[in-house]
Symmetry: C2
Subunit: 437 residues, 2 copies
C-alpha cells in the first residue's frame, strides 16, 4: 500500500473529550472517527488492527474446540422476559419497537439467545459438552460514553458459551477457556493477569477477570509479582493440567479495588514483591450453572433417565476494546509500537524524498516490489514531506519495522530499524528474514 | 471436524412459512435458526459458508483498490435529515430513541454516513479517486419478512462507495466495480447477468443489477443467450478495456419485468436465442453524482481553484443473501452441491459403520489424520447410522467430494465421489491432488 493512497486522515486537532492516550492516538492516526456519541467508524488503519486481533481470538477459540456461529444484533424481548432480566437490565439496554410494535432490543450480551438456540437443538447428554462462540457487535447505552472505543456504546465482542452435563465437566470447560484466554493475550504481547472477580449482572458463583497492566488503566491492581513466574508452556491441554494451571494462578495474590484489603496485602506479600499499578479489563469469564438454563427450560436427557438443566458458563473478550488496551499498554513518550501480530503493516519503507530527486523513491519502489513478492504487507511512505516529519508520523503509526532510504542506505546495505532499538545496516535478504521471523 | 461433535441440528420438521428451497434446506441442514421474525442466527455450518463468501467478496474488492473499513450499525438521524432521506425512507427504517431521547436508527444503507466521514477527512482533488467499502449488518424492517435469509430484516451486506472529481472518473470507478462484481460471482460459480436498472430510493442516473439465474428466482428474466459468450478473461483492468466490457454487456438484451417490453424482445432476439427464466438479485451498483455530496456539503478543492462536490457511486452485494441464492441455483432433485470455493468442508469421509465392527471407522480415522496433515478441511461422519441414511444426509449437506469407506474401498484404493458424478476408485494421493486442484 502507498501511503498517499491510504485513507488515513491524520489530525492534530483533538476534541476536548479525548482524555486518554488510546483515544488521542486513534484519532491522531486516523484509526477511528466518531459517528455519534459513543459510536465509532473504524477507518482502514484501525480496522486492520481490530481484524487481526479478532483473528487471533478466533484461532485460540477454535484450538480449544469452541465452534463459531453468529447470533444477530437485534433480539426479541420475549426471551429476556423468560430469564427475568428484561426489567432488571435497566437503561443500558437499547430497547426498540419495530413497525409491528413488537418489543425488541439490541443485544448487550447473549446468554438468553444462546440458551434458546441450545434448548431447541440439543436433547441428550450424548451431545455434550459443547462450546459455541460468536464475534458480534453489541450495544450498551452507557449514560456517559467516554474514552473513545474503551467505553463506547457500540462495541465488538467475542462471547462464548459452554454447555455441560454437570458442574465438574462445566469447570473443565471453564478451565479450557481460562487457558485459551491466556494464550490469546500472550499472542497479543500483553501481560494479562486473571483475577477472581464478582459476577455482577451475569450472575453465578465462579468468575475471573483478565486484567492487563497499563499505567493509565481504569482499575487499581494489587498483585504479587511472583505471578509472572508462571509459564504457560508448563501446562498441557488436559483436564488435570488445566486445573493445576488455574489453581497456580489463584495461589498468588492479584486483585482490583473490588476485593482489595490493605492489611491482607501488606501482610501476605513481601514489600519487594508488591505490584501496585493500574490495569484494564479485557476479558471476563463466568460459570453460572443453571441460572439461565433453568428458567429457560434448557434440559437434556441424563444417562440415568431424568432430564436435567445444562450447566453453563459464558466467556467474553472485548475485541474492539483490545485495540485501545494495547495502545494504553504500548504507547509511551510519543512512541507507539504495535505488537507484530496485530500491526496494521509488517514494515514501512521511508524514503527521504527531495524535490527534483526521485532516486530514493525509485529505490524504495524497487524494494517495495521485492517485499510484496515475498508476501510481506508493506507500507510505502511516498508522501512528499521532510524526513523528520515522517519519522514523527511513523512514531505514532507504530509499525514495528522501518526501512529508511536516505543517505545512510548504500547499495545492498539498508538502514533498518525496529522501533525501540537502534537502526542497523542490513541487507534486504536479512531484513526479510527478520520480518518473517 | 467429527460430525458427532459438530453443532448441527438437522431437522425434518419445517415451519409452514418455509416455502422456497433455500429456506427449507438451510433449516433442514441446521445452517440457520430463526431468532425472531426475519432475524436469524447462523449456526456453524451456515456461518462457515457465509464467511467464505464474505472472504471472496473482500478479496475481489481489495483487488480493484477498494479499502476496507467499518461503519457502525447504529447511526444518528441527523445526517439523514441533512440528506433529506429521514422522512422519505418510511417504515422500513428501524428508528430508535436512545436513553437521552436522541433519534437514532439502525442503518439500512450508508450513503449519508460515508459522505459525512469523507467530507471531514478529504479536502483535495489530490486524494482522489477513493473507494471505500465495509461488510456490515444492516436492518430493513420489512413488513412481511419471508423466504428465510433471502428477504429477512437483519442482513449482511458489502457496500462500497466511490469518490471522484468528475463524472468521467466516477464512471471509471463504476466500471471497476462492474468488473469486480463479475469476478466475484464467477468465483462463486454463479452465472450473473448485469442488467440496466432503475435507481429506486438510492437515486442517480446509472445503475445495474446483477441477477443470477435460478428457476425459483423472484424476478422474471428475459435475455439474449449470446450474453454468455462474453468472456471475462478477454478484458484487462484498464479504463478502456473496462469501458468496453460494460458496453459489450449492455449491447445484449437482458432485463427483468421492470424494463421488459414483449414486442421489443420478440423483435430484437431470435427465437432460439431467447432466454425466459427467473433470477435473483445479488448485487446492485449505482452512480448518483452529487446527490449526497451536495446536500451534505462534501466538497474538495478542484485543480482550477474552486470547490466542487465529489461525484459518488455506491455498490452493494448481499453477502448473507448469496448463501440462499447459491442454494436456489445449485440445489435440485434433493441434491445440493456447494461450489468448492464456499463449501463448508472440502471433503467428507463416510465410513460404513456396523455395530461390533469398527474397522471402517478406524480406517477413516487414519485417512482423516492424513487429510488434516495436508491442511484439508475434512468432515468425518462418525455417526452410528446406516449408510443409506448417511448418503441422503450428505446429499443435503452438499460437500462436493466424498470418500466412502465401505466394502468397495480396498487397500490403497478408495471409493471417491464428486457429487453429480459417478464414484471412482482412487488412491488417497490422487484424491488429495484432486481436492487441492
Amino acid at each position: 500500500m502507498f501511503l498517499s493512497k491510504l485513507f488515513l486522515p491524520l489530525t492534530k486537532d483533538l476534541p476536548a473529550d479525548a482524555k486518554i492516550k488510546s483515544h488521542q492516538l486513534m484519532l491522531r492516526t486516523g484509526m477511528i472517527k466518531q459517528s455519534a456519541a459513543g459510536i465509532y467508524s473504524w477507518l482502514p488503519l484501525g480496522f486492520k488492527v481490530m481484524k487481526k486481533i479478532e483473528q487471533i481470538v478466533r484461532e485460540e477459540q477454535n484450538k480449544i474446540g469452541a465452534q463459531e456461529m453468529l447470533m444477530p444484533t437485534i433480539q426479541s424481548a420475549d426471551i429476556w422476559k423468560e430469564s427475568g432480566r428484561y426489567n432488571d437490565y435497566g437503561e443500558e439496554m437499547l430497547r426498540i419497537k419495530d413497525r409491528q410494535g413488537r418489543e425488541m432490543l439490541y443485544g448487550p450480551t447473549n446468554e438468553e439467545l444462546i440458551t434458546e438456540i441450545f434448548r431447541s437443538s440439543i436433547k441428550s447428554y450424548k451431545s455434550l459438552p459443547q462450546m459455541l462462540y460468536h464475534i458480534q457487535w453489541k450495544f450498551r447505552d452507557e449514560i456517559r460514553p467516554r474514552f473513545g472505543i474503551m467505553r463506547c456504546r457500540e462495541f465488538y465482542m467475542k462471547d462464548a458459551y459452554s454447555f455441560d452435563l454437570d458442574e465438574d465437566q462445566a469447570k473443565q470447560s471453564y478451565n479450557k477457556m481460562f487457558y485459551s484466554y491466556l494464550h490469546t493475550f500472550k499472542r497479543l504481547e500483553l501481560e494479562a493477569i486473571p483475577m477472581a472477580a464478582d459476577t455482577g449482572p451475569i450472575g453465578g458463583d465462579l468468575s475471573h477477570e483478565f486484567i492487563i497492566l497499563a499505567e493509565t488503566g481504569e482499575s487499581n491492581v494489587y498483585a504479587d509479582k511472583n505471578i509472572f513466574k508462571i509459564k504457560l508452556e508448563d501446562y498441557k491441554f488436559d483436564n488435570n493440567s488445566l486445573e493445576k494451571m488455574r489453581n497456580d494462578f489463584s495461589s498468588y495474590y492479584a486483585v482490583t479495588d473490588e476485593k482489595f484489603k490493605k492489611e491482607e496485602f501488606e501482610k501476605k506479600i513481601k514489600k519487594e514483591n508488591q505490584i501496585l499499578t493500574k490495569g484494564i479489563e479485557v476479558g471476563h469469564i463466568f460459570y453460572f450453572g443453571d441460572k439461565y438454563s433453568k428458567p429457560l427450560n434448557c434440559l437434556v436427557d441424563h444417562p440415568d433417565g431424568k432430564k436435567v438443566a445444562v450447566k453453563m458458563g459464558s466467556y467474553g473478550i472485548g475485541v474492539s476494546r483490545l485495540v485501545g488496551a494495547i495502545i494504553e499498554a504500548k504507547f509511551t513518550n510519543e512512541i507507539m509500537k504495535w505488537p507484530k501480530s496485530v500491526s496494521p503493516f509488517e514494515v514501512v519503507l521511508i524514503p527521504s524524498i527531495n524535490k527534483n530527486n526521485t532516486e530514493n523513491l525509485e529505490k524504495a519502489l524497487k524494494i517495495y516490489r521485492q517485499l510484496k513478492s515475498e508476501n510481506i504487507d508493506v507500507l510505502l511512505d511516498d508522501v512528499d514531506e521532510n524526513i523528520s516529519a515522517k519519522f514523527k508520523k511513523h512514531d505514532l503509526l507504530g509499525i514495528p519495522y522501518q526501512i529508511i532510504i536516505g543517505s545512510k542506505s548504500e547499495g545492498d546495505n539498508l538502514e533498518f530499524k525496529e522501533i525501540g532499538h537502534n537502526a542497523i545496516m542490513q541487507t534486504l535478504n536479512k531484513i526479510i528474514n527478520t520480518i518473517k521471523n
